[in-house]
Symmetry: none
Subunit: 210 residues, 4 copies
DNA sequence: TATGAATGAGCCTTCATTCAT
DNA sequence: GATGAATGAAGGCTCATTCAT
């Protein structure tokens, strides 16, 4: 079947990208075979080259796709929260979902594994995703500080610490997913982030004035 | 010069392993070339095969070497601390060194990048290094709790949070090392862990009884 | 031109097998280069691996091909002969053709040269070709004996002796082909087998009763 | 231990040659490893190169050694026979020993397997061994004919037929030695050559005048 | 002399990319 | 547009040969 419409073309493109993500995740860029990616996408090797000029361009397309829509969910959660405290709570309650969903850990794994081969890609992802998320959190913290909800001296650095358990969980998820594929996680993510939230609030002196 | 003594042979073996670590770090297992590893070790490709049966065995030798002596420094720091509070302070002051030194981030990067290809290796490393470190921290926390230095409800989970910024820093280090190779880090590690320590102690209610 | 039909594929497969026979004949399995085989077949190295999983499989394919249709000619000659005496005469008159044609000596040479490396292959060829031919001759001899054409006490053993000069000629052909490539054989095959036939008949007491 | 005397040197040389014969027999020239040959000889790889300039020279040394003393036994048997008839009987009674002994089939196998790689070697062996043996038999046949023991028209050609079953047995021995390594041969050599002798004599009309 | 560590040329095999159908 | 046959560069590994000890 041939893709004549633009929509059909986009679907094929996306199918290749998703397949590429899976293969790159499993094997890394070098060991992933173009043939396997195409077959996983349900199309043929030759067709892939109609959509991407090379394996490398496929990789970059993947990162671009991954970088794009990531913050929308987060921004919605945060913007809808009435207070900074509530925003942080919402953010950390959402964290286990991010870790468990398939796309973010996959992308992170690919990024880490091939970051030295494609430094620009890592750099871009950093600016598009990590810095932005960090900025988002820092803004919340600053807001909370200014509102008197809690005390934050260095919002940027503090934001890093807010995010740290997410990184750790992502790495664990990548490393040990197969160990825990039988349902129970390598760590109880809800409990982890609940504790993290509790300790964070206490560390920030939140609720003391209440 | 030819290695006829056992010691000289061990030196060559180690040279290959260090070279392998660098190449695997830069390129991942699949893309690293045996020839480059040997050349980096100052020896020839053929010679490498006198010491390792295959590229894969070289990889496993690397992980084995890396897994072995990692905790010694930590354990010394911890065991020499008079109190749990001091032990944690010592541990977190030591954290930037771990992150900045070349070996741990390199190994972690290699582990992550090729964890799906060699799941047993990842599993082993986890048990040998991560679980052990986690247990070490958990023990300290329990000790501090029992001593009344601070309050810890779930030592294992709390230990994860103590460690989390180290993971995050490691990942950042891996991803952005080149961005910051001109001296200044992508983040001020001393400040980060100092803040982490301060907030952690506050979250645990340490020093309240003083 | 690309092989898209099954027939075209079979042609390529056969081209590789014939080229392999020549190269294996010239150099033996170990010394034959896959690259040379492919080039001789007029295709590229990579293409060969589309048709054969490995060099060894190519070797086995060669033997399989060689083992298959070898007796047809013989069986025709023998079955069309009115008497056992005529069958033997036909067989021995046909012998020089077998020795001189390219395929049998080549296969035999490859078989001998690599028999220790692939014992199963030698074993199969033995059963498929040698035992069968021997059985064919033994049957003729028994028939002639039963008919009273001549006297044969041990048909199987006698069949071996009927065949022996063929083996000898094959080996000589293999060893000295180049010495005689300028036309004249290292031995006059027609004369040899004519004499062999004459002596054989006499030894069997054929024609005595006439 | 070092070989200072000439005798000790010769012993080492011979040890290498015998080891080479075994390895070349098992694997052919290309696949035989110098290291294995040396180890089989109980010496080291480096030492081999003190005695032979290259692997190829080792091969040639082997053929030279093999070509030299082969006819002595035969010539003795033949020269001691009172009549041509007795000489042929002695020769054919000796045949199974030649086939079964380790050296001749091994050399023949090596010769055949690598004849195309070293045509001069095959040529030399032919002249040194085969032609000579053929000449020996032809002489006997001529003698018997001149004596009136039997009738031979073409001694050279007839000699080939006398020898043919030896070639066949050698090839079978090479091909199927392992099949019959449990004692019983692939063919009863004594019976074979006994029958061969009987038929040969009858074909030559021997004893008719008695 | 004897050894075996070191070398690097060479070969099998894989796979990204091209292109005839 | 889609396919998969064909290509050949590249890389893991072996092994004949050299040479320091």
């Amino acid at each position: 079947m041939r893709a004549r419409t633009n929509q059909a073309k986009d679907e094929r493109r996306t199918a290749f990208l998703m397949a590429a993500m899976d293969e790159f995740f499993e094997n890394g860029f070098a060991a992933a075979r173009v043939d396997d990616i195409a077959r996983r996408a349900g199309l043929s090797k030759g067709t892939l080259y109609l959509y991407f000029k090379s394996k490398k361009e496929l990789f970059q397309g993947l990162i671009d796709m991954a970088a794009a829509p990531k913050r929308q969910q987060l921004e919605k959660i945060v913007s809808e929260a009435p207070t900074a405290t509530a925003a942080i709570e919402g953010f950390l309650r959402f964290a286990p979902v991010i870790v468990r969903q398939s796309i973010v850990p996959r992308i992170i794994k690919v990024m880490i594994g091939d970051s030295r081969r494609f430094p620009e890609v890592a750099h871009t992802y950093n600016q598009q995703v990590i810095e932005r998320t960090l900025g988002l959190i820092a803004d919340i913290l600053k807001r909370g500080h200014d509102n008197g909800e809690f005390t934050v001296e260095d919002p940027k650095l503090t934001a890093s610490l807010v995010i740290a358990p997410i990184f750790m969980s992502l790495v664990w998820h990548i490393l040990f997913e197969q160990d825990s594929s039988d349902g129970n996680d390598f760590v109880d993510l809800e409990a982890l982030f609940s504790l993290h939230h509790k300790m964070l609030m206490k560390a920030l002196g939140a609720g003391n004035t209440a």
